[in-house]
């Protein structure tokens, strides 16, 4: 690590301006914060977090719909545990369950499929959230439901994909991103070639990095070196794990069931083409077609999670940070999720608050 940082300082010393690099993966967020990498950066290199936490970018509208479904008779909502404490316009899923809503936490979408198979009279709705890493697992369960004839297994589509929201970030005048640290396990599925639009359309660099602090530092060094040398390329420093094309089996199955759609992200609003909807022939699996009453969407008062997700503020700039919002009693999604930027800062980087970030 010391060698990497020394190299980074040396390369950064030759820069004629300050660079901002963004990571878009909850595990990178954690790794950067836990290792104190931000403090170790040379003055010319700034590291920020973007919309990399899947449950953080899940909008209240989605949670409102999930809650409404969980209150329908004969319906069970199954979800990854991460979503349980994320605020909706009214209750969290955890609070709603305590009040009698039918909600079950599962580790795998397949567990929800098993519940559906064992309970043919129950309508089982799996909350399909997560990025490209998670999408194949949901698609796999869906394919199994089709193959085995389990009609009562449905999805509430809410999956998101990175490229379109990264385009929004690049175009954001409030933000100047000079390069992206690209998510390692998203790339395992998609392949690093997915990110070539950054260089071809915007002249912005991207480096696929692993998750250890040394991997992240290596990624930052590669980005800084590109800037110093006036290059903008997609590089892969996670080469033993990530290939150019990704996992073909996974990509093909996802393609069979899903098509790109417009999707709401917390902090961004609707981002065209950034979501995945079920193709029309799988409409019978789509729980968003079930009629429910929804409250007007309402974000928690005072929470600036949206701006944190867009990378325009660091968490300490939110007036609620460590002053009414902490991991024990979180107000917003970015503090709820262990992968959230606010939670990562709270755990590891409160020094920045004391110093006056």
């Amino acid at each position: 690590m010391a060698g990497l940082l020394a190299d980074l300082r040396q390369v950064a010393a030759g820069l004629d301006r300050r660079l901002t690099f963004m990571e878009v993966c909850g595990t990178h967020t954690h790794s950067v914060a836990a290792a104190g990498l931000r403090r170790m950066m040379p003055p010319a290199v700034r590291l920020i977090s973007g919309p990399g936490c899947p449950v953080c970018v899940t909008p209240v509208e989605y949670l409102d719909r999930a809650l409404a479904l969980a209150n329908l008779p004969g319906t069970l909502v199954c979800t990854f545990g991460d979503l349980m404490r994320v605020p909706s316009s009214t209750l969290t899923l955890e609070q709603a369950r305590a009040e009698g809503a039918q909600i079950e936490v599962v580790y795998s979408p397949r567990d929800a499929l098993v519940i559906a198979r064992d309970n043919p009279d129950l309508r089982v709705v799996f909350l399909a959230v997560g990025f490209e890493t998670t999408v194949p697992t949901i698609t796999g369960a869906l394919a199994e439901a089709e193959a085995d004839g389990v009609p009562n297994f449905l999805l509430l589509p809410g999956n998101k994909t990175m490229p379109q929201v990264m385009r929004v970030l690049v175009d954001d005048p409030e933000l100047e991103v000079d390069g992206f640290l690209l998510p390692g396990h998203v790339s395992v599925v998609t392949g690093w070639r997915l990110f070539e639009f950054l260089t071809s359309d915007f002249g912005i660099s991207g480096v696929v990095a692993g998750f250890m602090p040394t991997d992240v530092a290596q990624g930052v060094l590669a980005l800084t070196r590109q800037a110093a040398e006036g290059r903008a390329e997609i590089e892969n420093v996670y080469g033993r794990v990530v290939s150019a094309e990704g996992n073909r089996h996974a990509r093909e199955l996802v393609e069979k069931y899903f098509e790109p759609s417009d999707e709401i992200w917390r902090g961004f609003g609707t981002v065209p083409g950034s979501g995945l909807s079920l193709r029309p022939q799988w409409a019978h699996r789509d729980a968003s077609r079930i009629a429910v009453d929804l409250p007007p969407p309402l974000e928690p008062t005072g929470c600036r999670c949206g701006e944190v997700l867009r990378g325009v503020i660091d968490p300490p700039e939110c007036p609620l940070f460590d002053a009414g919002c902490d991991p024990d009693l979180p107000v917003g999604a970015c503090m709820v999720s262990s992968e959230g930027t606010c939670a990562a800062w709270y755990r590891n980087e409160r020094w920045a608050v004391e110093r006056g970030a």
């Binding site: 595990t27 990854f80 545990g81 890493t133 395992v188 692993g210 250890m212 262990s338």
Partner: protein
């Protein structure tokens, strides 16, 4: 209102779940597209539909009950080290 804590929602190293991360596990049993993978003495049933080429004894990257890729032993060790540190941080919280 008392939140109900169930086993499925508990966080822990092997039982926990990070949505951006796949966990390296050794494939210890394989029957066509179904497998059993192990890490730190914990075994999980996984689907091999996305990595049909994986062999017993190799590391697979496991995410939400599916193997989504493969890694070598050295890379697996690095990721596991991070996960242990990560789960410790969760316990401290």
């Amino acid at each position: 209102m008392i939140p109900v804590i169930r086993a499925g929602g508990r966080r822990g190293f092997s039982g926990g779940f990070q949505m951006c991360l796949a966990i390296p596990m050794v494939l210890v049993e394989k029957d066509e597209f179904e497998g059993v993978a192990e890490v730190d003495g914990v075994r999980k049933k996984i689907s091999l539909m996305f990595v049909p080429e994986a062999e017993k004894g190799e590391y697979v990257l496991v995410h939400a009950g599916f193997a989504i890729g493969q890694v070598d032993a050295e890379e697996a060790a690095k990721t596991l080290e991070l996960l242990r540190e990560y789960s410790d941080a969760m316990v401290d919280l």
